[in-house]
Symmetry: C2
Subunit: 446 residues, 2 copies
């Protein structure tokens, strides 16, 4: 059984680490996040360990205005991620390249073209993590005074994904023929305008490049709100999620698979990868030491800033040991942020206690232990149907990724839970996802 | 004198060549335009020859609807050019990387971030060729029924450039400090919101990454209309232009330099590079043969399609040997397109005659000859003040670039007209352009 069904592993790369104080750790070079080589090295480490993909999150604003408080945090989203993945592509061969891009402020034609270009440039390794932009800081960079409301964002995102997929399918497979003798660069009967007109978008198409090696890039989704689940069930092939317990993860995955089935989809074509922040070392004590060192580096003001961001409320005006005030707004909330804050309120945590609870992994599952202990947990979740694999979020980079690749991956391989070699060339191959036929071909095959 | 002032050379890369029939030539692999390696090879050839930069044009639509006529032409703008340059960056070391991006349909925050990312990723080699989108096909991909009017596009572009530059300057040099001891990742007093509010754009900033190795990417402009010249004189550092004669080129460069001076700028900080399509071989006969082979491959219908595009009028409904009809509209015209059509009308050319006149180089200067003959022409224009250098547009790729690099560049170097080694690391270094200080620093220095 274990040998038939294997885990998928994503390497979630972010700056010099996912931990809020990563850049302050003495083993970390904080300037590394400004250097291409930092990311290329990590991609190569992940590829050598046979990860399915690397993954970059993103937003489109500086988080918070320039301030002494903001200066306590490194910049998590520095390079534009599509440019970064394009630079990494020729320096890797097999590993998938997944980037977040918001469906809120970039016209869908641009997004479809960028990801189609990356899929061609990488030989079929691109994935698009579709998110919506949920902060006023981002809205302010795009002519708006406030972000769109949550439901509006998701309704718009649903149509946006439809437009992007239609553009990706606007050339049938094989429409580019480049036949010098026939003097036909393409077959015009196999290229189609999309002529989309909806409530939010009007786009004629077709795209200006042919269908990509994967048919189209893998579609990823990371929202776990009701709207996010509906969008994922309709269109996503891979879902990243934050889950604190095995039981919650099983419930989430079960719900998502049921929703996909209800949409007439094969639930096995919708993979669920919870985020895991591993603190791994040869001994448990050593792993715990790294965890504790990082927690000790968290300035209380940084935690206040982080929770203020979650709450969309300036908590620096409230006593650190007092209760949480009411949030100013819930429009920008991601579901897991809401979950964390609701939990804190239900348990009556002070602001300080809430910070300590969530600052390490931003709501994702933290695991501290030896390679065996960490592999045990991953196997347990995987076997129980809590996950199709995991999105690994190293606390510090590149060290945390190197440690996972060197210590945990071999243990998973020994157990038959993870590949020892790539068997395909594209991200779809690695994930076991089918090649999406263009609608015209699919219709003809019926 | 020649040794003091040297030419700048750009390698203008487009698909498998600039000639309208390039993809049909038996020496050309038409599918090469879909492969990253095709472009990387050309960038490396240009870098080995010490070119200042490679350059990609762009638009954001398939040119013309899918049709048998369209199928006679290869796709000139296939990959999204910023992604392509990001993939080329780590496979080159010195050569400048210039991409066209339209100021019409991409929000300025996105553009500023993409080019800033490329400048960082490439160690200071990025340039932005700012154009406006002048076709209905592009408008149709972005929710509009028709393109914006010419004057509106340029007024909007002027404000757009201001926003982009303000974002590029929103971090002062040295604002990113990454000081673990002081626990400050950046100096908040040296990062500034831009809070731009104008007729067309409202953007808060700052950018989410620090000032780039070049201060900001080199700003390039390619419009030669009155509006284009005004925009270039205000903000451009490099201008690409189509000039048929030395005298016209002198007049254009003189006018542009005067306009820059009138804006209080040093005219030597605005370089003018006319496009040149070289047919070069060891003998003139051989060079002429390539020219004639390519012209013979041009299907008359393709020429009609091209001129129809220039005229924004379907000429297939008019007799090939009859006169040009009135254009349907002049809103989308670029100045050089207008010049060509006006010339044809003044000379009473038939549609067929107009096609033969302009199909080879789309209005750019064509030069056919031996390396010595071509170097003679370039030296003559350069010495006469017609150009600061040239943007080389090979008729077929990569062969035409290889031929120019192997035969013409050494001749220019022998004459002391072109560098034999790079002396700097950034595109600004190569071009001899100053490092732009951030406004705050410039003010402090006064």
């Amino acid at each position: 059984m274990a040998r038939d069904r294997q885990m998928r592993l994503g390497a979630f790369l972010m700056g010099v680490g996912h931990h809020a104080a990563a850049w302050l750790h003495p083993s970390v070079d904080p300037r590394a996040l400004t250097r291409l080589g930092h990311y290329v090295h990590q991609a190569q480490v992940a590829e050598a360990a046979k990860f399915d993909a690397i993954f970059f999150a993103d937003n489109v604003a500086m988080l918070g205005p320039p301030s002494e408080l903001g200066a306590l945090a490194a910049l998590p989203y520095y390079f534009e991620p599509l440019s970064l993945l394009a630079a990494i592509a020729p320096q890797t061969e097999r590993i998938g390249l997944v980037a977040t891009a918001s469906a809120t402020y970039l016209p869908p034609y641009h997004l479809a073209r960028k990801f189609a270009s990356l899929d061609h440039l990488s030989g079929g390794r691109a994935g698009w993590n579709c998110v919506t932009s949920g902060s006023d800081a981002e809205a302010h960079n795009f002519g708006l005074d406030h972000q769109y409301e949550h439901a509006h964002r998701y309704a718009r995102a649903g149509e946006y994904v439809d437009v992007v997929k239609a553009l990706w399918n606007s050339w049938e497979d094989g429409a580019l023929i480049a036949d010098q003798q026939a003097r036909r660069f393409y077959d015009p009967t196999r290229i189609h305008r999309i002529d989309h007109e909806g409530p939010f978008f009007k786009v004629a198409g077709p795209l200006q490049l042919d269908r990509t090696p994967q048919g189209h890039p893998v579609i990823v989704q990371a929202g776990s709100s009701d709207d996010g689940i509906a969008l994922a069930a309709a269109t996503a092939e891979l879902v990243f999620t934050a889950q604190q317990s095995r039981e919650d993860a099983i419930a989430f995955r079960t719900r998502l698979r049921a929703a996909a089935s209800a949409n007439g989809r094969d639930p096995d074509e919708l993979l669920v990868l919870p985020g895991i922040m591993p603190f791994v070392a040869e001994t448990r004590e050593e792993a715990q030491r790294l965890h504790d060192e990082l927690l000790a580096l968290v300035d209380p003001r940084l935690g206040i800033g982080f929770v203020s961001g979650l709450m969309d409320t300036d908590l620096s005006q409230h006593p650190l040991d007092g209760p949480l005030p009411e949030p100013a707004s819930t429009q920008g909330w991601q579901s897991r942020q809401k979950l964390l804050v609701d939990t804190a309120r239900a348990e009556g945590l002070s602001i300080r206690q809430l910070i300590a609870r969530i600052i390490t992994a931003r709501g994702h599952k933290t695991v501290i232990g030896t390679p065996t202990e960490i592999a045990d947990l991953l196997e347990d979740w995987f076997a129980a149907g809590a996950a199709d694999g995991f999105n690994i979020m190293p606390p510090i980079l590149p060290q945390g990724l190197e440690a996972f690749a060197e210590m945990v991956v071999p243990e998973l391989q020994r157990r038959g839970l993870f590949r020892t070699e790539y068997t395909g060339r594209t991200l779809r191959d690695h994930l076991g996802l089918p090649f999406p036929q263009t609608p015209a071909l699919a219709a003809a095959a019926e």
